[in-house]
Symmetry: C2
Subunit: 373 residues, 2 copies
């Protein structure tokens, strides 16, 4: 069990493990990078959803974070965090909960991309002399939430927000999730530049109609891992995944494999020479199905074993086979462990309630994870 093991090799498997030294390095690198650029880092909590990792990402300030669910916002607020941006298109069922957080915290920010959402806010005026702090979501060609940056609608919505009583247009927020289609630094910086240019141009258009106050922020781990100089003109950035990184980020070009802080420890539970396979005790219940098995090594990279592929999974079983030739079972005795480097850390972390935190393989902490909406 996690609570009695001294080393990660002794954990009951499957187990999610986090290398605290890599986490600290990733967090410090990002903090320093944007300190040097003079841009506020607002780390996103969606990847890990723990208090301890948030403390590391904020450099201990417990201020200035982004979250993707309102339950996370409440969790962090309950633990002394403030300046929390609920970076999600305001869902109409959660207005009252948002109002209470706005009244309770010094700075609680909501996000929206349409006028009906703005109307929802005006129907619930805040008490205690507070105003709704609103970020407008701008779609800088990412194609998910947001008003299209180039449209008159975007300008009009910004104007509506800034002219509404009890509401303040605090910032303009864009997520450059389209960096996830990139391969290599050159493509990443091209998208980072494009998103930055789009949002900065939008800020200029706002100024031209007399709206000068709002901050600007873009996000995504790829763009913030390779910022372009123009990003220094932004107020904030809001990446999240970088604290763990993963195989996907290494393929995009955001990081090296050695920057990936997380693994799933799994154990060999069966040898099946008649089909040249072994079974491990990690199925999608512990790894997630992210990536769809399309890596050359299947659903994950098996650390130190480039010759192996995690070919398929069911809920609690994983099938491993060699990329070619016959499996040498003597290398993988029953009961021995393998370390899976996940395709997508956000998805794998979601499958675990406890993270086993280690330094050089020695367990130094256990992080409990917060879930829900």
């Amino acid at each position: 069990m996690a609570d009695t093991a001294e080393f990660i090799k002794d954990l009951c498997t499957p187990a999610f493990v986090v290398d605290i030294d890599v986490v600290r390095r990733n967090a410090e690198t990002m903090l320093e990078r944007f300190q040097q650029l003079g841009v506020q880092l607002r780390p996103h909590m969606k990847t890990h959803k723990t208090l301890e990792c948030a403390d590391i990402m904020t450099g201990g300030s417990r201020r200035c974070i982004a979250v993707s669910t309102l339950a996370e916002a409440s969790f962090y607020a309950d633990h002394g965090y403030d300046d929390v941006l609920y970076a999600y298109p305001l869902p109409f069922d959660k207005v009252e909960r948002c109002a209470r957080l706005s009244e309770r915290l010094a700075l609680f920010h909501v996000l929206l991309d349409n006028k009906l959402a703005l109307q929802q806010l005006t129907r619930r005026p805040l008490q205690r002399g507070k105003v709704w702090r609103v970020w407008m979501k701008l779609d800088c060609d990412n194609g998910r939430a947001g008003v299209l940056h180039s449209t008159q609608d975007a300008l009009q919505l910004a104007r509506d927000i800034s002219e509404t009583t009890g509401v303040e247009l605090t910032g303009i927020y864009a997520h450059c999730g389209n960096t996830y289609g990139c391969k290599g630094k050159e493509q990443i910086t091209a998208i980072a530049q494009e998103t930055t240019t789009n949002i900065l141009q939008f800020m200029e258009r706002l100024k031209a109609i007399g709206i000068q106050g709002p901050k600007s922020s873009i996000g995504s781990t790829p763009s913030c891992s390779h910022p372009v100089p123009d990003m220094a003109m932004l107020s904030e950035v809001h990446p999240g995944n970088y604290v763990f990184y993963d195989v996907q980020q290494s393929l995009i070009g955001s990081c090296r494999l050695e920057d990936i802080a997380v693994r799933v420890v799994t154990r060999v539970i069966g040898h099946y020479p008649h089909r040249n396979q072994l079974l491990v005790d990690c199925g999608w219940a512990a790894l997630s199905q992210d990536g769809g098995g399309r890596l050359p090594t299947g659903y994950a990279i098996i650390e130190g074993h480039a010759e192996l592929k995690l070919t398929s999974m069911t809920q609690e079983h994983g099938r491993v086979e060699p990329l070619s030739g016959a499996l040498d079972y003597s290398q993988f005795p029953l009961g021995s462990t393998l370390y899976l480097i996940p395709h997508h850390a956000c998805a794998t972390a979601m499958m675990h309630q406890v993270y086993n935190v280690h330094s050089k393989g020695k367990i130094v902490n256990t992080w409990k994870v917060f879930r829900g909406w």
Copy 2:
């Protein structure tokens, strides 16, 4: 929030909802089906992992269940369950925990498919006059865990188990997971027949070498939803998913759509006419990525809207578009809810910590879920 909503339409979304009437009907149908066949039903808990649903599946007996993780076994044992089969190839890190459960319960069963696992048991003799109750996993051409049914190795392992001091060969266990490749009742019954024939022939071969005691069991929701007459000669069956069913099971032919007990309630959070899409607040964090979006309607079926497709998801967002033509946004106002019928209930249920249980849309209970290994 779940705790204040009276009807599922008022839940904060995304929310996992369970129709208690359908659950009861599915559970009773399965109980009656195998009672009539004279075969013991040992329902598998892996799909739901709750106490309340286990009570329904066991008809209130709290006896005779199968689980896929040892943490589940302990959870049920802690709540008065007994006759628990840990239906998973014995992982060598969990022998001591298994021993304690064996000593504590009247009947705790382990499963194995190799001689090294048997040796692990003999190194930890049970106290309190107990013997290890061992089920041998037989691979009846399913191709996951188990010794191949047709081999001499299988007979030899059964003999080894039955001749080992402190160990009892309690049963032979086969999972016909290959039914998941079926389309329609005819194909399902063909695999059910094949698996049944294989295991019954194996039982005959055991008898021929003087091993008469062990029980026989096969599982899988498809085969147990359409049992063949020969299954009456088995001692037990161990399906699990049937209590919820899902789109995958309906496509296999195990059930009708109206037998599916679970939904994810999601809410419209954005309209994007320029790309003919709307956004909902259900991403893979609430639905799982199961099925890979390969249904004609994408990652799920949107209840009552055969014209819509859940085309893609990120962690907390889902993109919905029409299968053809222009989306009629007036039908889907911002803030309105949609009901997603999951591709795979086991995978979707895993993403939630709380199930909102309803009868005809009125919330009647909240089930808390147990997780871990």
